[in-house]
């Protein structure tokens, strides 16, 4: 008889690399996200067979091709629904939804909200390059107003959506942001998302070199990036800038940038607390454009959807006791002609 070793084997990056040749455009930010995912997964102590990657349609949705795990390349925008079904059916799985700003926020915006709201145990990684790639360069729900594309020749007139604000409004228990060009931060963020019980949403600023190459230039450039990004650390005041001499305060519920010195010290700055029960701070941070906050904005505990379901089952059993099919049949409203 064949026996299967159920001990979790020691895995390496290579165990997660599939036999498919990676086919994104040269210079695409997706490569970096893939590399970090394959790097951090071996350290999570999860069997490869218990990991599932689910995607919809778009460039990012090719991601599961390249992961040597279970996976579904599904339909446009609907990956969160499949993931929810999966998470309910088998709570032991580590489930990753790979989506983008088009797949996740346009056609799939509805499902994203409801997956987050249910707090099923899934990790949603949203690649945000603020443009449609696979259909060749139309504006997306996160594109800047005025962006000229083939489908908005006179400039997009739509207000962009802020994915993290949306997630927080839906009651997200884990919300984070990272960027493709900072591999260490990206890897750490993915690790924290994996550790979270419930739905985690990670937005990754991701570069599309072909259709929106200038979008993140200031965030990549060594000279400018520290002025454009603030890296959150729990319990630490919010300081940023090339010279680490700027900070964030809140006045009249509005965040403001202040220059340190001249009587303003770090003591007066906002101090990050991702575990705060109230999502207000996280929401304020999610709306910041300059600088954009990086890291975990919110990380709180809440019952997952599967837990809620199991709880209801347990409650029902406690009240009514264990039933069986025969008694169910006999108790039902059958009219028998005798």
């Amino acid at each position: 008889m064949t026996t299967i070793d159920l001990e979790t084997p020691t895995l390496t990056r290579k165990d997660f690399v599939s036999d498919q040749e990676v086919r994104w455009c040269p210079g695409c930010g997706d490569y970096s996200i893939l590399a970090q995912m394959q790097k951090v997964l071996p350290d999570l102590g999860i069997r490869r067979e218990n990991i599932v990657f689910i995607s919809g349609i778009g460039c990012s949705s090719r991601f599961p091709y390249y992961m040597n795990t279970y996976g579904i390349h599904s339909i446009h925008g609907r990956a969160p629904t499949l993931a929810t079904g999966l998470a309910i059916s088998n709570p032991d799985l580590s489930i990753w939804v790979i989506t983008g700003d088009g797949d996740g926020l346009s056609i799939g915006g509805n499902h994203l909200i409801h997956a987050i709201r249910r707090n099923a145990n899934i990790n949603i990684i949203l690649f945000n390059n603020r443009v449609y790639g696979l259909t060749k360069g139309q504006f997306s729900p996160t594109s800047r107003q005025g962006m000229r594309t083939k489908s908005s020749p006179m400039g997009s007139i739509e207000q962009p959506l802020e994915p993290l604000s949306l997630a927080l409004s839906a009651g997200a228990t884990f919300v984070a942001r990272t960027i493709d060009t900072n591999p260490n931060h990206l890897g750490e963020t993915l690790t924290r998302a994996a550790a979270h019980k419930g739905t985690s949403l990670v937005e990754v600023y991701q570069n599309c070199l072909i259709f929106n190459p200038q979008e993140w230039t200031d965030y990549h450039n060594r000279q400018t990036r520290d002025d454009h990004m603030l890296f959150l650390e729990d319990g630490q005041p919010m300081v940023f800038g090339v010279n680490q001499d700027q900070g964030i305060i809140v006045r009249d519920l509005q965040p403001e940038i202040v220059k340190l010195g001249n009587g303003i010290s770090e003591d007066g700055l906002l101090v990050h607390d991702a575990t705060s029960e109230s999502p207000t701070l996280a929401y304020i941070l999610s709306r910041l454009r300059h600088p954009a906050v990086m890291g975990v904005l919110r990380e709180v505990e809440g019952p997952t959807y599967a837990e809620g379901l199991m709880h209801q089952v347990a409650e029902a059993k406690a009240k009514k006791g264990q039933s069986d099919l025969l008694s169910l049949y006999q108790e039902s409203d059958l009219w028998e002609v005798k």
């Binding site: 455009c25 339909i75 056609i107 259909t135 060749k136 020749p153 006179m154 072909i210």
Partner: protein
Amino acid sequence: MSLPGAKVNIAPSTLELADPGNGQAIINDFSIVVATVNGTGSQTSNLTLLRALFKMGIPINGKNIFPSNIQGLPTWYHIRVSHEGFIAFREPAEILVAFNQVTAKADMAKLPAGGVCLYSTEWMDISLRDDVYNYGIPTNQFLRQAGVKGKIKDYLTNMIYVGAIVQLLGIKLEFIEEALAYHFGRRQQLVDQNMGIVEMSYEWVAENLKKEDPYQVVPLDQTDGQILITGNEAAALGAVFGGVTVTSWYPITPSTSLVDALNDFLPKIRRDPDTGRATFAVIQAEDELAAAGMVMGAGWAGARAMTATSGPGLSLMSEFVGLGYFAEIPSVIWDIQRVGPSTGLPTRTSQGDILFAYYLGHGDTKNILLFPATAEECFEFGVIAFDLAEEIQTPVLVMSDLDLGMNTWMTPQFKFPSEPLKRGKVLSAEEVEERGFFRFLDLDGDGITYRTLPGNKNPKSAYLNRGTGHNRYAVYSEKPEDWEENMERLNRKFETARGMVPRPVIDQVDGAEIGIIAVGSTLPAIEEARSKLAKSGLSSDFLRIRALPTNDDTRDFVANHKRIYVIELNRDGQLHQLLTVEMPEMASRLMSLSRINGFPATARWIMNSIQAHESVNN
């Protein structure tokens, strides 16, 4: 090996034709396949070749067989050259431009014996076949010589094969320059740069290679009065002529280029002369469901509203198409079919949505379908789809496909519509006053009732439209007799539509033993197959359905033929199924000839299939 300088004097093609084995040159009758990597600009080179051949008066067709990917995967461009005017897809091509190292070996294996292989001497480390004509070109040396560096290298590499093909086949160089000038518009520097590489290659081939293969082109006059256009651009142009004012859509291959074209055309002509404001709207919706909803909203308001999509998008639209059928809302949906089910093969062609589109919507739903087969019909149907939608007050689905929509076709100059737009039974405020308004009352007995548009000044004009059960006065009703009456009237309307939609095109010949029925883009392959079958002694009549529901023309055609082959690009013979349902008493006459592999139909497949079947039959 000597390389010329960057600037050369161009000599006319002086290559002598070698003996091709049987001493015969093969003139204006072959196919070229160009194998490259997508995202390297090879489309520019291929269109340049296509346009130059077209300018020479030779019937051609260009087909891009491309991957679902932005950059880095293999792509093949097929150019059919035919003095007989046969422009169907044909494999294998006799002439291969092997400019993709990754696929070169497999591409070369496909060549027929006696074919031509143009390759880069520096790209490949594989053995050449000794039963084909091989021409090697030192591409990198060329680029170094021309001082080409950086990103543009890939683009200009593709111009090298253009120069070589031009020399080898005897294409007129002046037409290449014209084609480049057309492509790059006023950007003369790009024209010069590309032309420089073409000329270098052209000259180098003349000096260093000896032409031994039999293939060549000579000028003809068969493209006079014709234009080159893709089906999607033709459709967009037709929609503009048809008065489109609202388009809502969601990006999906292979329909995107149709809306791209609308975005290109509309701003140029739809401006209010006084205010300068746009008098049209093209909206990129959040998904196809929303797109269809916006179209229904606009169509109900009286706008000529349309969307363009493909199978997966049509799936999402089914809910609103059902509403459109039942609430009787004029709307136009272009389905540029690709291979399904599900995401399937997004960049391959198919006729797989016929049954789905015909019955799109749950409950008892039947829709009007139009089937353009040529770019010319894409234009025509772009116009009349709106007329039919408004006259019949229902969604009209125009069933194009990737091959027709995205590839470049020769077509006669479009005829401008000669008739005014047909808006159907729309009551003005005064008419409502004079005759009253009963939204779903069948006054004319044709099932088509009178509607008003929101904004009508007569207070009696307003009504609540609904997807729920209603009586003839648009009032909610659960009465069985109301439900039956309404559904029967919708059926009567559908019967009326049979006489309104485009009639089939019928080609009958003397002594035909068999009939052929088809729709859409299989037309060129069928024409070629019929010609070849006739030469082999099997004549055929051909009926090309251009719309569903069918009418008596199709019934008569079936009645007049003992064996009819229904040809289509799907697995299940969907058109065949519909025809057997329409005329069950003659179902045994109808034979299904269907297949789906993602490629356009070929004359060879049709001919072989029919011959095989006929030989068993007789």
